[in-house]
């Protein structure tokens, strides 16, 4: 089986609301794919469709080329964490993993193995009702890993975690991807994926907005802007403009230069004898890139960066 998730023209409607609207993307093995969009964009619906929990109204979601319902030992082929709270509170963490293992004839020692892998040894024999959110997330991840599957899906795995937990999950999913697995992580905050995702699938209102590698996205968002800090603002603007760059002043001693690389700016200013204290190529954060991407999406108009027209009021 090829370790991929393929979503093809997926469409899902709840009543009159279209939750997912012709969505297509592929999750490749060996990398972490971030699945981003605001709350209500259709991420969870898509994931439930992939897992066969929701029946799509159109299109299909395939794992290794097959529908989930066709998988005979699904836990061996895809592991998923949808909702960390989906545990019976009276059941001990270990027993929760044990019944899952039993359903696939997975040996008991594997249960202890995954407990160790997520670092839940001390809590595994306690009842899940007393777990903190972080422990539940770890238990959910352990459950996903139980069948040692080549495809993994985590829905908002860092939601509500402390910094240490977030750092742990980031490292963990990267390790899983390095082993050759296809890993899909959803989040409504791009910043959460900053250090873990290789590839991004961005959706809004059930539609695909971007399907791109993180590197490409960042370079597109960064443009070729250079930040320049100088005490001789007017001189610098004049010199650089003469050499063909567009220069904009954004502070008392800072300029943004476009259309000229940083090395050339240094050379031009040096030749002209204009003093400067810093030349820095602007590097967009993933969050900025995301804002840029979703600026046009109607979904974000209310919270977007555009000023609201107030003139008529």
């Amino acid at each position: 089986m090829e370790a991929t998730i393929e979503v093809r023209e997926l469409r899902k409607q709840f009543g009159r609301t279209v939750a997912v609207d012709g969505l297509s993307f592929t999750v490749e093995p060996g990398q972490v794919t971030g699945f981003v969009g605001p709350n209500g964009a259709g991420k969870s619906t898509t994931m439930r469709s992939i897992l066969g929990l929701d029946t799509p109204d159109g299109g299909q979601a395939l794992i290794g080329g097959r529908r989930y319902a066709q998988l005979r030992t699904p836990l061996r082929e895809v592991g998923a964490l949808l909702d960390a709270a989906a545990v019976h509170p009276s059941r001990r963490g270990r027993d929760h993993l044990l019944w899952l293992a039993r359903s696939h004839g997975i040996p008991r020692r594997r249960v202890d193995e995954v407990i160790g892998q997520v670092g839940l040894e001390s809590a595994a024999r306690r009842r899940a009702g007393g777990y903190s959110l972080g422990m539940r997330q770890r238990l959910g991840i352990a459950a996903a890993l139980l069948g040692d599957p080549p495809v993994l899906m985590f829905d908002e795995p860092v939601n509500g975690l402390d910094t240490e937990g977030i750092r742990w999950i980031r490292g963990f999913v990267r390790t899983l991807a390095r082993e050759g697995r296809a890993v899909l992580i959803s989040s409504h905050l791009m910043s959460e994926l900053e250090d873990s995702a290789d590839h991004l699938v961005v959706i809004g209102r059930g539609r695909l907005i971007a399907d791109t590698s993180v590197a490409e996205l960042l370079s597109a968002a960064s443009g070729d802007r250079v930040a320049l800090r100088t005490t001789a603002r007017t001189d610098a603007m004049g010199v650089l403009a003469r050499e063909g760059a567009q220069v904009a002043a954004d502070g008392r001693d800072s300029l943004t230069v476009t259309g000229m690389r940083a090395e050339r700016i240094t050379a031009v200013l040096g030749t002209a004898g204009v003093p400067f204290s810093e030349v820095r190529e602007h590097r967009a954060t993933l969050e900025e890139a995301y804002m840029e991407l979703t600026r046009d999406s109607v979904e974000f108009a209310a919270t977007g960066p555009e000023p609201v027209e107030t003139g008529e009021l």
Binding site: E2, A3, E28, P29, G30, Q31, R48, L51, G52, L53, D54, T55, Y68, A69, L71, R72, T73, P74, L75, R76, A80, L82, D83, A85, A86, V87, H88, P89, S90, R91, R92, D95, H96, L98, W99, L100, R102, S103, H104, G105, I106, P107, R110, A143, G147, D148, P149, P150, E179, G180, R181, D198, H199, S213, V214, A215, E216
Partner: protein, 546 residues
């Protein structure tokens, strides 16, 4: 560090052995789910404990009536009625008796002041189970062994022996019906015929222990008329004597017999304990008039017989049958605690599925096993098996213990039957009740899966089991019997008393531990309910998103 192009994927290879997706794995998973929730296990233990305790409490008192000395015991040990008119002579060794029943009529001159509950009975004024026929009996003492071939106004031709055993022949009416009873050792074969030459075999029965010389002859009996009034939990039953007259001809006796007939009543009603006072009060104010017939009536009930030119006219009263009136139902008293278990199992069955919906765990379950129908079937099997495994020892223990105590308190034969786990009826009731409880748990699981709401499903199932019982006391008998055929309470037929005999006038109603369906049939109705509701649950689970 991020790379411009994703690394060349080296497909991930797991080192785990391949998974298995068999139904057995699914069953083990569901069993693990059940036993890993401690409060469910506590619930089970509490159900067993309370069930046994409650059964013990129900068996605490004695029978509280003094009918025991009056009861007549049959060869099987149970209470029997043995009162009829017998025209007889001794027959030694093998032989046969042939007679034609010319007609049968009400022997009391049609004074039908009490209405019989048996349909069609009102027309000819004769009770449906009145009997006219031929009889071979161990002497003339009451309660002795016998075999008899008879024709009845309402139930055709019957071959009966030793009070409790009954074999049906044709539906022929008691009009010119030929009967032939052949003795060969302890084997008795009955034949019937419309013309005396073309005979149809009714059956062969064995009456063990019947001596070589037995009394053979013609008999007529007419069982008590029966009335019943039921309303919300109160039940009044009334019985009154009746008489029937049978006319026989073509009476032939083959074998070592004397050919001299003696006619006499066998058994008689006991006289009123308070003597019939020759007082001047109006008749309807006299005491005991309702309870026991007056002296003259008792005399009349002894019946009569005469023979003229080979035609025998025999008038008789009473019955040769089990006596189900004398004692109460001491079977279900030993199963009283099963109600508690029923409610706990209904709750556990429901929670086994609704708790998954409440926590969203159903998604984890269906992710592990996408074949949804199998999940529900596995859950049903697990909750059913677990319930049965707990119910069986608890019911058996409570039953055996309670029956022992009740016997010590005076629930003894012939008035009361002796039940134990070693005998058919007791064993059937215990296993049947446990099976019923297990099926209720399955029914509750299915209800929970359909409604996805704990309180609603638990209440629904308990009401489904209780409402027919409550309603049954208020509705007419016919409607009650249909309730006990069609609703899940039909399964209570597994608690049918050992005193149930279809060949009796007394109508079948839950109050006398009688249910219209046989135990297996009643359990089958509950099984169908559970299966139907489970099918509905599977259908719903399959078609909907979770």
């Amino acid at each position: 560090m991020r790379t411009e192009t994703p690394p060349t994927p080296t497909p991930y290879r797991s080192s785990l052995p391949p998974g298995r997706d068999g139904f057995l794995q699914l069953l083990r998973a569901e069993l693990t789910k059940f036993r890993s929730v401690r409060r469910w296990l506590i619930g089970l233990a509490a159900a067993a404990l309370v069930s046994v305790t409650l059964t013990m409490l129900a068996s605490n008192s004695g029978p509280g009536n003094n009918q025991a000395p009056d009861a007549l015991a049959g060869p099987g040990g149970g209470a029997v009625q043995d009162r009829f008119r017998f025209v007889h002579q001794p027959l030694t060794g093998d032989g046969e008796i042939v007679a034609r029943v010319v007609s049968m009529a009400d022997g009391s001159g049609g004074s039908g002041e009490r209405e019989s509950t048996v349909p069609g009975d009102e027309d000819h004024g004769i009770v449906a189970w009145a009997k006219a026929g031929v009889l071979i009996k161990d002497g003339t003492k009451q309660g002795s062994r016998y075999a008899a071939l008879m024709v009845t106004p309402g139930h055709g031709v019957r071959l009966q022996h030793n009070y409790t055993e009954d074999l049906a022949g044709s539906d022929a009416a008691p009009k010119n019906r030929w009967l032939k009873l052949v003795r060969k050792g302890t084997g008795f074969t009955g034949y019937e015929s419309a013309d005396g030459s073309d005979w149809t075999k009714v059956g062969t029965v064995t009456v063990a222990g019947l001596p070589r010389t037995a009394e053979v002859g013609l008999f007529v009996a007419s069982s008590d008329r029966y009335t019943v009034e039921r309303s919300f939990g109160t039940l009044s039953e009334g019985v009154g004597p009746s008489k029937a007259t049978g006319v026989f001809d073509h009476v032939t006796l083959n074998g070592a017999a004397s050919d001299a007939w003696t006619g006499e009543p066998i058994g008689e009603l006991s006289l009123p304990k308070v003597p019939d006072r020759p007082d001047d009060r109006p008749l309807d104010e006299q005491e005991n008039r309702e309870e026991l017939p007056p002296r003259q009536e008792i005399e009349d009930l002894k019946g009569s017989d005469r023979e003229s030119g080979g035609v025998f006219t025999v008038t008789g009263s009473g019955d040769i049958a089990p006596d189900a009136f004398v004692g109460g139902d001491n079977l279900t008293q030993g199963l009283a605690g099963s109600w508690v278990a029923l409610m706990v199992f209904a709750a556990l069955g429901t929670l086994f599925i609704t708790s998954e919906y409440r926590r969203g765990m159903i998604r984890t379950t269906l992710t592990a096993t996408p074949r949804r129908g199998r999940v529900l079937v596995a859950k049903a099997l697990v909750i059913g098996a677990v319930s049965f495994a707990v119910a069986l020892p608890a019911t058996a223990l409570g039953f055996a213990w309670a029956q022992q105590r009740m016997q010590d308190h005076g629930y003894v034969p012939p008035v009361y039957l002796e039940y134990s786990l070693a005998h058919g009826t007791g064993l059937r009731a215990v296993i049947g009740t446990s099976a019923m409880l297990a099926l209720v748990a399955v029914l509750a699981l299915a209800a929970g899966a359909v409604l996805r709401h704990s309180a609603g499903a638990i209440t629904g199932v308990i009401l489904l089991m209780l409402a027919p019982l409550i309603l049954g006391g208020a509705l007419p008998l016919g409607a009650t019997q249909w309730l006990f055929r069609l609703t899940p309470v039909a399964a209570f037929s597994v608690q049918r008393s050992g005193m149930y005999y279809p060949q009796m006038e007394r109508p079948c109603m839950p109050e006398n531990a009688c249910y219209p369906l046989a135990p297996a049939g009643g359990l089958g109705v509950l099984l169908l309910w559970a299966a139907a509701l489970l099918a509905l649950a599977v259908w719903r689970l399959r078609k909907s998103d979770v």
